[in-house]
């Protein structure tokens, strides 16, 4: 396999054009973050385009509220550049320190800000794409509102490299919120956390982010969390955490904070910590982002299911014999559950040490039961990650009616079939 690091969109286009002509299989790579949790399947490409050198943030246009970036620009860098101009780029995949805009676009990445703002697909105004034919094309416009023909931008987002390679993007920016506040709500049970989250939504609030973590999530980084002032082991009365970010004008943030404190006050033994220091808030979210690596740490193998359900059914997977409480011990099977509460996206993590076969089988069976119950409540398994992901079950295959059409479009863009998705 040959790895090439192009530096301009024209180079990318040329490489694709010649690959098409010669029938060379081509793959693309951004920050490589996805590969860490989702090893590639199928035949490896013969030519790998590594876009990490195309990492410039070409411009931040204040007047037009947009940023022009190359595909290899790192998400965190884009966010920082925007904030420096008094602007805000909301999409926040948890790997934002390393993942690239191009990578985000390829897999339609999103993070906690999905709740109030949405994800990558909501903040791309236009794309610069190198087609497999070797021709470059632009999609979208520099404005949010344009309906000239089809929304090719949204069509391409999430499609990997099937139809071409994204070489650059025009990103939508927002004015930076005047105030941000992070709340840590410690609750006695996972269900209590889910209930509070639902109550927040029912109360007409839409926090910028609202993450629900269970006991295991807290345990794998316990010292870091307790440094904020959260209760320490072996308190079994602090088994879940709601991590909430509020933003807006000061009066509005205060009002929402007060409302949430009131909701938690109605819950026995709940505790609300308000992180007024921006540095502390930043660290709290950093802890959230390193959750998956921490869960993975020390486990020989692992699997994680990301499932979605309508938010009010977030507790559907759990029942009396499968309460959302992690087993006390985290060996040989480490089970954790965390959610983008409010959006209805649930993550079920199972870390597996093959030395404890029985416990691991039980953990996996229990997880599969939970997913089954979730499907029964109208939910869906979005994707699975990890080397052991096939143990958690199959993602639902998309309808053939749709796949056939996509295959036809793929065929028309890439007649020789050289693009590795």
């Amino acid at each position: 396999m040959q790895v090439v690091q192009p530096t301009t969109p024209d180079e990318v286009a040329e490489l694709l054009g010649s690959a098409q002509a010669k029938g060379t299989r081509v793959g693309v790579r951004g920050g490589g973050t996805l590969e860490q949790i989702l090893p590639a399947e199928g035949t490896a490409p013969e030519l790998l385009l590594d876009l990490s050198r195309m990492n410039r943030i070409t411009s931040i246009e204040r007047g037009n509220l947009l940023a022009r970036v190359e595909a290899g620009a790192v998400t965190a860098a884009v966010q920082a550049a925007a904030e420096a101009e008094g602007l805000f780029y909301p999409p926040d995949p948890t790997s934002l320190e390393t993942c690239t805009i191009g990578g985000n676009i390829a897999c339609a990445a999103s993070g906690p800000h999905q709740l109030k703002y949405g994800g990558t697909r909501d903040f791309v105004l236009g794309l610069e794409v190198a087609l497999p034919s070797g021709k470059p094309v632009r999609t979208g416009a520099d404005m949010q509102k344009s309906v000239a023909g089809y929304d090719m931008t949204r069509f391409l987002i999430g499609s990997g490299a099937r139809f071409g390679v994204v070489t650059g993007a025009v990103l939508r920016l927002l004015p930076k919120p005047q105030r941000r506040r992070t709340l840590l709500c410690s609750l006695t049970t996972f269900s209590a956390g889910a209930s509070i989250a639902l109550a927040v939504m029912k109360g007409g609030m839409t926090p910028a982010a609202m993450e629900l973590l269970d006991l295991r999530c807290l345990e794998v980084d316990r010292d870091a969390w307790t440094s904020f002032g959260l209760p320490n082991r072996p308190t079994v009365e602090a088994e879940s955490l709601l991590l909430i970010e509020l933003d807006g004008v000061e009066a509005s943030v205060n009002r929402q904070r007060a409302q949430i404190e009131q909701l938690c006050a109605d819950q026995a033994k709940a505790m609300v910590l308000i992180l007024t220091d921006p540095e502390k808030a930043r660290r709290a979210w950093e802890l959230r982002r390193r959750l998956l690596p921490r869960l993975m740490a020390g486990m020989p193998t692992w699997a994680m299911a990301v499932a979605a359900v309508v938010p009010e059914k977030l507790l559907a997977p759990f029942s009396s014999d499968e309460p959302p409480v992690a087993p006390i011990s985290d060996r040989p099977a480490r089970v954790a559950c965390f959610a983008h509460a409010g959006t209805g996206m649930l993550h079920l993590f199972v870390g597996i040490d093959p030395a404890g076969e029985r416990e691991c089988d039980e953990a996996l069976a229990s997880s599969r039961r939970m997913l089954h119950r979730l499907r029964g409540a109208g939910g869906t398994l979005l994707r699975t990650y990890g080397p052991a992901r096939h143990l958690l079950g199959e993602e639902e295959a998309p309808a053939s009616a749709l796949m056939e059409r996509l295959a036809a479009i793929q065929q028309s863009f890439d007649p020789k079939g050289v693009m590795v998705p």
Binding site: V137, Q144, P175, S252, R255, L402, R405
Partner: protein, 472 residues
């Protein structure tokens, strides 16, 4: 285009509890939309279920009969016009709101539900559906989805595509697909949803939509600022964003529009002002107070001519009625109003307005500019007398308008779609490669373009067909 008796019979059997209309008067009434053009269909079918839609589409395809989906036909670009005859498939009988999940902020609706009716149904739950095109009392959600409707509120909340979380679609070959309410979270369903919204009925027919609702903000406040110079509109908008604020609405109208509104409705508008900026902020009570105060400060900083804050519901309604009155007022000021909905990057609004005034002057036409200052979406209206010479100059002016807008990095349509009327201009905006890429998508879903033909893409033979079938 004739429809065989066998096909007619089959369709009557399929749509046994809906409507199949074939009288001359019926066909005339489904030949038009809001463009004043009309083309005669061969049959009008109003199904009552997705299965019926699918079966009709399949039966029509087998005989090579075009199918043109239609909602309430308030479209201003010819979207639902049966240009080559065939079947007009009206979704208006499928008008049930199937279910609202208030705690999940989700509504499941049939495509014929009127936008305003969804608002009314969501209201008791403290929820609303943000896209608010001016046709909301009449236009259907299916139509809103087909065009990706906008409206003043979209500045803060987003446009229709931001609220579609899932779709059930009948493809042009009659196959049915339902993504469910979580389609937006998964590829490839998200790609399908992204394509369908704004596809103007050329990729499939929506038979069910899963729509995101939003809590009704507890409070709102409206302000109106008159300006000495039109540039101050852009300055004010810029300052508002720089302050970190995103109001719910930022609407403007130019001096000419203000005088027209004042002529007809005698509301005491400043006839010397260059422009009027209408601002609405919404949210929780405390937040709204603060935002309104900050906007007041911005207006003072920008040195607006006069700032008025609505202190009661009546005052607020009057302010927004002036904006709502604009379109009809402008219609009455001339025999013919030619309205375009162009967009420019928001930082270029002032420049765009200057260039538009200039080009109108050069063509000897009156022009009114108003629209969504916050997102650069301008409704530019040329006022034309019923005179062939003026009409010709207006046509040229519109072409030049598009050239100007595109040179500024804008778009020929922000909300109304390409439809039939702008097929010539699609390639101007997205180029040959872009058009070719879109055609590939269209051909994969709608080979031979039997579903809603002659829309979006310029086809050879279009002029001839149009001449043949056209009534008006």
């Amino acid at each position: 285009m004739r429809i065989s008796p066998a096909l007619r019979q089959k369709i009557r059997q399929i749509v046994f509890d809906g409507k199949v209309l074939s009288e001359p008067g019926d066909l005339y009434c489904y030949s038009y939309d809001a463009t004043r053009m009309s083309f005669l269909p061969d049959l009008v079918v109003e199904p009552t279920s997705a299965r019926q839609v699918a079966d009709v589409v399949r039966a029509a395809k087998e005989e090579g009969v075009p199918v043109v989906p239609r909602g309430a036909a308030t479209c201003t670009t010819g979207g639902p016009l049966p240009v080559s005859g065939g079947i007009v498939l009206s979704l208006t009988l499928m008008n049930r709101i199937l279910r609202i999940f208030p705690d999940s902020r989700l509504a499941i609706v049939e495509p014929g539900v009127v936008n305003g009716d969804l608002q009314a149904a969501a209201q008791p739950y403290g929820l609303f559906f943000p896209p608010d095109p001016s046709s909301f009392r009449v236009s259907t959600l299916g139509g809103n989805i087909a065009e990706c409707a906008g409206g003043p509120r979209c500045l803060k909340y987003g446009v229709t595509k931001d609220f579609v979380q899932g779709l059930e679609v009948v493809f042009p070959d009659g196959r049915l697909l339902d993504t469910g309410p979580l389609g937006y979270l998964r590829w490839p369903e998200s790609a399908l949803i992204g394509l369908m919204v704004g596809s103007e009925g050329t990729l499939g027919i929506v038979t069910k939509a899963y729509l995101k609702l939003h809590p009704i903000p507890p409070a709102r406040r409206s302000l109106a600022a008159t300006m000495f110079r039109i540039e101050q509109v852009g300055e004010a908008v810029n300052e508002i964003f720089s302050a970190g604020l995103v109001p719910a609405k930022l609407e403007f109208m130019d001096g000419f529009a203000m005088r027209l509104v004042d002529d007809f409705y005698k509301v005491g508008l400043d006839r010397e002002a260059a422009a009027l900026l209408l601002i609405e902020v919404d949210g929780d009570k405390e937040g709204v107070e603060e935002e309104a105060a900050q906007i007041e400060a911005v207006c003072q900083k920008v040195r607006v001519k006069k700032l008025q804050i609505a202190r009661s519901i009546e005052e607020e309604e009057l302010l927004w009625r002036m904006r709502g009155m604009l379109s009809p007022t402008v219609s009455r000021a001339a025999d013919i109003k030619i309205n375009e909905d162009v967009v420019v990057p928001r930082g270029k609004v002032a420049e765009a307005l200057r260039l538009i005034e200039e080009l109108a002057r050069r063509h000897g036409l009156r022009v009114v500019n108003y629209g969504h200052a916050g997102d650069g979406n301008l409704h530019t209206s040329f006022l034309v007398d019923d005179d062939p010479e003026q009409k010709r100059r207006a046509e040229e002016a519109v072409s030049e308008l598009f050239r100007v807008v595109l040179r500024l990095g804008g778009s020929v349509t922000g909300e109304h779609g390409i439809g039939l009327t702008k097929v010539k201009f699609l390639a101007w905006e997205i180029g040959e490669e872009g058009t070719a890429a879109m055609r590939k998508v269209r051909d994969a879903f709608n080979p031979q373009a039997l579903m809603n033909p002659y829309k979006i893409f310029l086809e050879s033979g279009a002029e001839a067909i149009q001449g043949d079938k056209r009534l008006a």
